[in-house]
Structure formats: C-alpha cells, structure tokens
Symmetry: C2
C-alpha cells in the first residue's frame, strides 16, 4: 500500500477510536489519537518552542477562522491573548503535519482531516452510530455511572467536538462532504468497520 494517512473523525460512543486502532494494527502502521498527541505536545515542552515559530500562522485567519493579527507591523489586536488551548492546538497541528511527512499513519480527531485537507495521500473517515448504541457504549463500556449520565456525556462531548471543529477548522463537523468515507459502526461492528476502512485505504484512486 502506498503511503496513506487515515484520519478518523467520530461521534462519541461510536467506537471510532477502537476502529482506528484495528485499522492501524491490520495495516501495520502507527496509530495516533488525541491523547498521544496532547501528551507529546505537553511533555516535550513543544508547546512553548512552537509558539515562537508559530506566531504568524497562529495569527492566520485561515487557521483560526476568525480575523486576527494581520502580521504586518503592528497587529489589529495589540496584546491579543492566546488561550492555552490555542497554544496546544498549534503545537499539535505541527506534530500532525510532521506525522504526515513521515509515512502512513492513522490519526484520530484533532482536526487532522482539516489540517491534511490538501494532502493527496489522505483518506478522511467519519464514524458514527445510532444514538441508542452510543449511549450503551458510553454507559457499559466507557463506564459512565448511569444511563442518564451517559446521555449527558454524549451530548456534551459531541457538542464540544463540533465547537472545536468550528473554531479551528471553521467547518461543520457532521457535513459528509468533508469526508471520503462515512460509516455506521453499529451496522458493521468495530471489526467490520475496520476491515472496510483498510480496503478503502488500499482502494484509493
């Protein structure tokens, strides 16, 4: 298989992360999820290092989706304050772009699909599932204290993801046009979904 980056965007509780892990195992390629990327950014102190390299890009309207500093001597917003989240995102983004340069990989979340939108070796996948099944997984598998709490988590996490994507990618997270392959993990199971994605990675034009 030629170099392929598979980005997995997923609804909370759909098992998207598990699917991503299986895909990476079957293809024998590295697997990166948001936890891993967060850790690397924090523990290596990369966040601080990259800020100095990233000032201009961080200020880019395209990256943030909002008008910000122009980058031409003197900013529109003197004393503009970047949140820790913004700094983390900038560091992660650099890490993700580096990962894509190194070879094949599976990357879960973190707007990787958006960051790699112009990378021709990318397959953008979205994993979803019926709400009933997601609640079940969040409750029984992820360990939410009760079904009611599972429902709350589901709404909160998905809402957070949509907002994150809107903020950093200025996109509609659930818009199918942002992806190449969208699948219902409940219909195919985690293993079935992984097998389909593996074939898709090998089938690209």
């Amino acid at each position: 298989m030629k170099r392929t980056i598979i980005t997995i965007s997923r609804e909370y509780g759909s098992g998207g992360r598990l699917v991503g892990e299986r895909v990476a195992e079957q293809l024998g390629i590295p697997f990166y999820n948001h936890n891993l990327i967060d850790m690397v950014a924090q523990e290596t102190g990369m966040a601080a290092d990259y800020i100095s390299n990233w000032e201009e890009q961080v200020a880019s309207p395209r990256l943030w989706g909002v008008p910000a500093m122009t980058g031409f001597g003197g900013s529109l917003f003197d004393g503009y304050y970047y949140s820790n989240e913004d700094r983390m995102f900038a560091a992660q983004s650099k890490i993700i772009l580096n990962i894509a340069e190194e070879g094949s990989a599976v990357i879960v979340g973190r707007c990787a699909d958006y960051l790699l939108r112009d990378n021709p070796d990318t397959i953008r996948v979205f994993v979803f599932a019926e709400e009933k099944q997601r609640i079940e997984r969040i409750w029984k598998t992820y360990g939410a204290p009760s079904r009611e709490e599972a429902v709350k988590y589901l709404r909160a996490v998905d809402k957070g993801r949509a907002a994150y994507v809107r903020k950093y990618a200025d996109r509609d997270w659930g818009d199918m046009r942002n992806y190449h392959l969208i699948l219902d993990s409940g219909r195919f199971g985690v293993d079935g979904a992984a097998a389909i994605i593996v074939l898709a990675a090998e089938s690209r034009s």
Copy 2:
C-alpha cells in the same frame, strides 16, 4: 453471504449506477435500477392492477407523508386525485418489496432505502462525488451537450431527487443518518467504491 439487499442512493453524476452494477456483478446477485422498475411497472400493466389492491395503503398517511383518506367509509378528500406519478410509485414500491422477499439484490434509487428501512438484511449506501467530477461525468460520459448544460442537469436532477425523497419518504435525501455507508466515488473510483460496498455487505453485524 447471507441474504443482503443493497440500496444505492446517489448524487447525479457520481457514477452510483455503475457502482451498483459492479457490486451486483461481483456478488452474483440481481441488479435493479429505476429504469428497470419503471419498465416493469408500465409494461406489465401492474400499475393499474395494483391500484385496486393499493387504495387503502396508497391512502395511508405513512406512505405519502401527508394526511389523506382515512380509509373509514367516506374519505376526507372526496374525489381525491392521484397523479400518475403517485400510481407509478405505488406500483414500484410493491415491486421493490417483492424483490426484497426473493433474495439478495442491488437496488438503485426509487426510495428503496426508505421502503426497506425495517428490513434487517439491508445495507443502505449513499454515493456522492465532488461537483467538478460530477459535471465532468455528466458532460463527457452521459453526453450533455456542453459543460454549461451539464451543470444545469446536475442541479435539476439532484433537486428533483431530493424533492422525490421528501415527497415519498418525508426525509432529507442527503442526511447521512439515513444510510449505513456513504462514500465519495471520486476518491475510490467506481471499481474501488464497488469493492468497498461488497466488503461492507459481507461485513454486517
């Protein structure tokens, strides 16, 4: 493979019909597209036959998505007139339900995904592609007289399909939640897309 009905909904110019044909070939199962179903309905005179059997169901609010005859002695709409399109749809629907009883099949369009929504042996697929590629196919392959005409056809046919689905299934044609698998035929090619769908049909839980 156990009995599987694969319904293919598709954007005009995405090559969905071709993809469906390849899937049927590879699985060795019958392939039905809307032309075939239309022909059967018209040529066998089934439309007329089925109307008499279908009066009550045709009047069912659930089938049409609009309040209609109650079916209890005397209708709300005396002299209610069914269009030829409605009669044809009723006849096609019966044909599609019969097809699903007979064994595996690939069915393109005709709200088959909606008609078979409670059929557990169904895989609902949506095929789309970037507009640029669709215009190219409609112009170069389907034979539109010019690129400008191809664009017009694309808009008109997709608009018509969305309206048809809204009328008969009371659904949003492009809503990913109505499907199990959604894929970009441009990314994978017609053969690649067909291979993915074949695997999906064999992978269902």
